[in-house]
């Protein structure tokens, strides 16, 4: 339960040794304490229960059971979930079970007068949260009957965790459920620009880290642009200002522990076998700074704008001006037109003759229906249209001609 105190373990030093035999340094890395969610434990996956035999119920089913639109409700468990919407907003949704309220009520001696339902948000950025060490926290009073809230934040790139609970008028807080961790996105560029480069040339799995090969005399001069070695490739080892160092797993752990707590473990699990090295900027030239600034300037492009596509349709364009993913064009709103008035004209010409006769318009043969009638439909533009029909009898003995002219004039 959240109220339970978790002991902080002692700091334990971790040795860092450079692989290329340079001096060994010792630094301390704080051990992380796994925080356990205060949720009900579920049976482990491997437990096989005898109840897993499913019987088939025979017979016709209720047809309505196929297309059911009444959504289920989950109000037997108290729970809260956070989702980051953007760098400055978190969406929280929750359910409160009556039984949880009853529990709190019991603790308060059966009286909830003056108690408020709140979502308590903990800022746990770069913290191994143990329930008490948040950077800060704040409450949002949400009332008994709301079940979701958009929460506005002060800063981006932060880790949060929320609890739904009841605040007694004495100020005591009784949490009923704790949420997942959520980390909001960064809204601007990172302030760190030290570089680590990863080499995936060789199959991952070989523990031995080997330096990149370079052949021929290569040189590197930023002021003259890019230089390549004899094989036509850019040469890395020729960069005199940078030193290549192989990093140990401990290095990387220390390095990435500055990231969100959400990420750390997941990341470390697989990097150890990759070959990594870092370029240290021991003596960065003015030119290199210039280059970095050049790319920094590019970053200042504002994302997200509303632009116009087609004749009169707005499309909201995202981070980089495309329609918003998906089957976007299929779901564009119907075009809203202002008052309009249009006229079209069509012409229907029909006639009849012997069913076995042949009828032509100009020199194009017309298909007759079985009873010898025919009907044609034409778009009628502003023009004078002559319609010369000819009918010839089956035995080619008789021929009749009818010419008619239609004129449309729009003024």
């Amino acid at each position: 339960m959240p109220g339970k105190k978790i002991k902080l373990k002692k700091r334990k030093p971790i040795e860092r040794v450079y692989r290329d035999g340079r001096e060994a340094t010792v630094r301390t890395v704080k051990r992380r304490i796994k925080y356990k969610q205060p949720v009900v434990l579920r049976p482990a996956a491997t437990v096989q229960e005898p109840s897993c035999v499913i019987q088939e119920r025979k017979g016709a089913f209720r047809p309505a059971a196929i297309n059911e639109y009444e959504l289920p409700s989950y109000n037997t468990t108290t729970r809260i979930t956070l989702i980051a919407k953007d760098p400055f907003w978190i969406y929280a949704y929750w359910e409160i079970a009556e039984s949880s309220i009853e529990d709190v009520k019991r603790k308060l001696g059966g009286n909830l007068d003056g108690a408020r339902f709140v979502v308590r948000m903990y800022d746990v950025t770069y913290k191994d949260f143990n329930g008490f060490n948040a950077n800060h926290w704040f409450d949002i009073e949400v009332g008994r009957y709301s079940n979701n809230w958009y929460i506005s934040l002060w800063n981006d790139n932060a880790s949060y965790l929320g609890e739904i609970g009841i605040v007694h008028h004495s100020g005591r807080f009784f949490p009923m459920a704790r949420s997942n961790f959520v980390h909001t996105p960064r809204s601007g560029t990172s302030s760190r620009f030290e570089e680590i480069w990863m080499d995936l040339t060789q199959e991952a799995g070989s523990e031995q880290a080997t330096p990149m090969k370079t052949e021929g005399a290569a040189c590197f001069e930023r002021s003259r642009g890019v230089q390549y070695d004899a094989a036509g490739r850019f040469s890395y080892s020729a960069v005199s200002k940078r030193r290549k160092i192989y990093l140990t797993e401990a290095d990387l752990r220390a390095y990435y522990s500055r990231l969100s707590p959400l990420l750390r473990d997941a990341m470390f699990s697989r990097i150890s076998r990759k070959k990594l090295y870092r370029y240290l900027y021991s003596n960065m030239s003015g030119k290199e700074w210039h280059d970095l600034l050049y790319f920094k300037r590019l970053h200042n492009v504002k994302f997200g704008r509303k632009i116009m596509i087609g004749a009169s349709e707005f499309a909201y364009l995202g981070g980089s001006e495309n329609l918003q993913g998906g089957a976007s064009e299929f779901v564009q709103p119907d075009k809203k037109r202002k008052f309009f008035f249009e006229i079209g004209a069509e012409l229907i010409v029909y006639g009849r003759t012997e069913p076995d006769a042949e009828v032509k318009l100009g020199d194009k043969k017309i298909d007759l229906k079985p009873d010898g009638t025919f009907s044609m439909r034409f778009a009628l533009p502003d023009a004078k249209i002559p319609l010369p029909f000819t009918a010839t009898s089956h035995d080619k003995v008789e021929t009749r001609k009818i010419s008619t002219t239609v004129e449309r004039k729009t003024e």
């Binding site: 996956a45 897993c52 035999v53 499913i54 196929i66 959504l71 289920p72 642009g225 890019v226 064009e329």
Partner: protein, 541 residues
């Protein structure tokens, strides 16, 4: 020697819409229209390029939902019915416009297009367009990306990591079955990335994926070469960032191509324009007007008055715009390459359906662009991300920032007032799926309880179908909302029905059969297995 690369990415995706229970289902038209207007024209462009020995490299996604629909027999046959109807209408139009020179040529153009489409669909590829794209991949011209099983939006689904993992792994396995090889790249639905997602990709053997520009630009630490070179995530998967300049050129109001006055107007369709009784057999059987695909007018300008479309002018413009796009990429690459120690790569991803369906001249523009790049210059070369990673295997390591390609660049499109209600249900269903996977894992392969296995698999399918990012997207845009609403509710309820049934120990056999026949996506895969594996892994960890 060329100085940099251009990577064109076409993301082909449609949500799984298949309704055997009804003869005519309006939303199935999304697929039919995309086949006629986008997929077949693209295939025709590729075919002609191969025939003319033009070297090109295109990166494409063909999502599992789309591939499943293209391979579905019912939908294939319904498409043939659809295209036959269009050919009939176009034929009538050819006669009707006989005295109207402005439109007669257009009617003929559509007639020819539809007849050709049918020939490609039935005659050439025997109703299987997936085979067409697979062919171009096998020939080495097109690189097809894997994608999530049902276009699940990972930044929000990863609240339950199992859900994200299953979306990724089912998508990858479906790719293997469909294309007979391991995928190299992955299209994250909506470019939705959040750190940690790359771990699932790495586990599935993926080498690269794409993020929006700010995913790279805001990466931590700050990348040296911005979006012009990939980053390795700590998991070793490479992230390629979208280039905003080339995106703007295609879509911006000022410089954007598709809004040109000579191009075809999308919003004037004879389905809405012509006399009711005449057009009635070709619109919705209930009688409301819909788009037929025959559109005779050009954009003309910012006015309601539209002039007739002139194909020659439009073709001229498409060639001009392709030339302009190439010229700008050349300048961009020359400029950026000066500051880099490697060749820059420009990533230009677009929705495939924008080419042809929305921007009628789009496929033609791609054709011109590829030919011009092949013959008219030496600065830019078309390449796929795997080409690039083969050339440069040392890349900077950084953690891309959470990002999407939606409006404002984050999750807002898929998480706002109109659609936030779905996540409560999606997350609970995801947890319940894991619960079922834990309880009934021994039913999967011992063959003793076939019904339980089927029920478990169908539960997974219902969950996946409910997770499609298309539903919240449609709710947000405000058209066809009712349909998206129904779909989420339907799948959640079907899932819950199975969940309750299994916990109670019995399932209605007939009901399950009916649901299996309707939501038959991934019917040859044991979808529940992925949740069981994740559950086991979790137990070990």
């Amino acid at each position: 020697m060329h100085k940099g690369y251009l990577c064109l990415v076409l993301h082909a995706h449609l949500p799984f819409v298949r309704h055997p229970e009804e003869e005519d289902f309006l939303e199935e038209n999304w697929l039919y229209e995309a086949i006629t207007e986008t997929y077949i024209p693209l295939i025709q462009v590729f075919e002609k390029l191969v025939e003319d020995h033009v070297d090109f490299r295109i990166t494409m996604s063909l999502t599992p939902t789309l591939a499943s629909m293209l391979r579905d027999e019912l939908l294939q046959n319904r498409y043939i019915r659809h295209i036959d109807k269009l050919i009939e209408l176009a034929d009538k139009e050819v006669q009707r416009t006989g005295f109207d020179p402005k439109y007669h040529g257009l009617a003929l153009m559509y007639y020819r297009k539809f007849v050709e489409a049918k020939e490609v669909f039935v005659g050439k590829y025997k109703k299987d367009l997936v085979a067409a794209f697979k062919k171009f991949q096998d020939l080495g011209f097109v690189e097809i990306l894997a994608s999530c099983a049902t276009h699940g939006f990972l930044p929000i689904l990863s609240v339950n990591p199992t859900d994200a993992e299953a979306q990724v792994k089912i998508g990858v396995d479906h790719y293997r079955k469909t294309f007979g090889r391991d995928p190299v790249g992955f299209w994250l639905p909506e470019c939705g990335y959040t750190p940690g997602v790359d771990n699932f990709l790495a586990e599935a053997g993926i080498k690269y994926f794409f993020v929006d520009s700010h995913g790279i630009v805001n990466a931590d630490p700050e990348p040296r070469y911005s979006v012009y070179a990939p980053l390795y995530c700590p998991s070793g998967v490479a992230a390629f960032g979208r280039d905003w300049e080339s995106s703007k050129q295609v879509w911006s109001s000022k410089e954007g191509y598709p809004g040109d006055s000579d191009y075809r107007e999308y919003y004037r369709d004879i389905g809405y324009e012509l006399e009711y009784d005449y057009i009635k057999p070709y619109i919705h059987p209930i009688g409301f007007r819909i788009n037929t695909g025959l559109k005779y007018w050009r954009i003309t300008g910012n006015t309601d008055h539209k002039e007739p479309y002139v194909p020659e002018w439009a073709k001229e413009k498409a060639a001009m715009h392709a030339g302009n796009f190439m010229f700008n990429r050349e300048k961009q690459i020359e400029h950026v390459a000066y500051h880099m120690d490697r060749k820059p790569m420009i990533i230009s991803p677009y929705d495939a359906e924008l080419f042809g369906h929305w921007w009628f001249e789009g496929p033609m523009w791609i054709d011109f662009l590829i030919r011009k790049i092949a013959y008219d210059q030496k600065t830019v070369k078309l390449a796929t991300p795997s080409d690039y990673l083969r050339e440069y295997s040392v890349n900077q390591m950084s953690v891309p920032s959470t990002s999407t390609w939606g409006y404002k660049g984050y999750n807002e499109v898929w998480l706002e007032g109109s659609n936030d209600w779905i996540y409560r249900h999606l997350h609970v269903a995801g947890e319940r799926m894991k619960e079922l996977a834990g309880k009934f894992s021994n039913c999967m392969n011992n063959g003793k309880n076939e019904l339980a296995r089927r029920a478990l698999n169908q539960a997974a399918r219902e969950l996946l179908l409910a997770q499609a990012s298309d539903w919240p997207f449609i709710m947000k845009t405000g058209t066809m909302v009712e349909y998206a609403d129904k779909r989420v509710k339907l799948h959640i309820n079907r899932f819950t029905h199975i969940y309750n049934g299994m916990l109670a120990g019995s399932i209605e056999g007939e009901w399950l059969r009916e649901v299996e026949s309707r939501d038959n996506i991934f019917s040859d895969m044991d979808c529940a297995e992925y949740y069981i594996q994740a559950k086991i892994k979790e137990g070990v960890a």
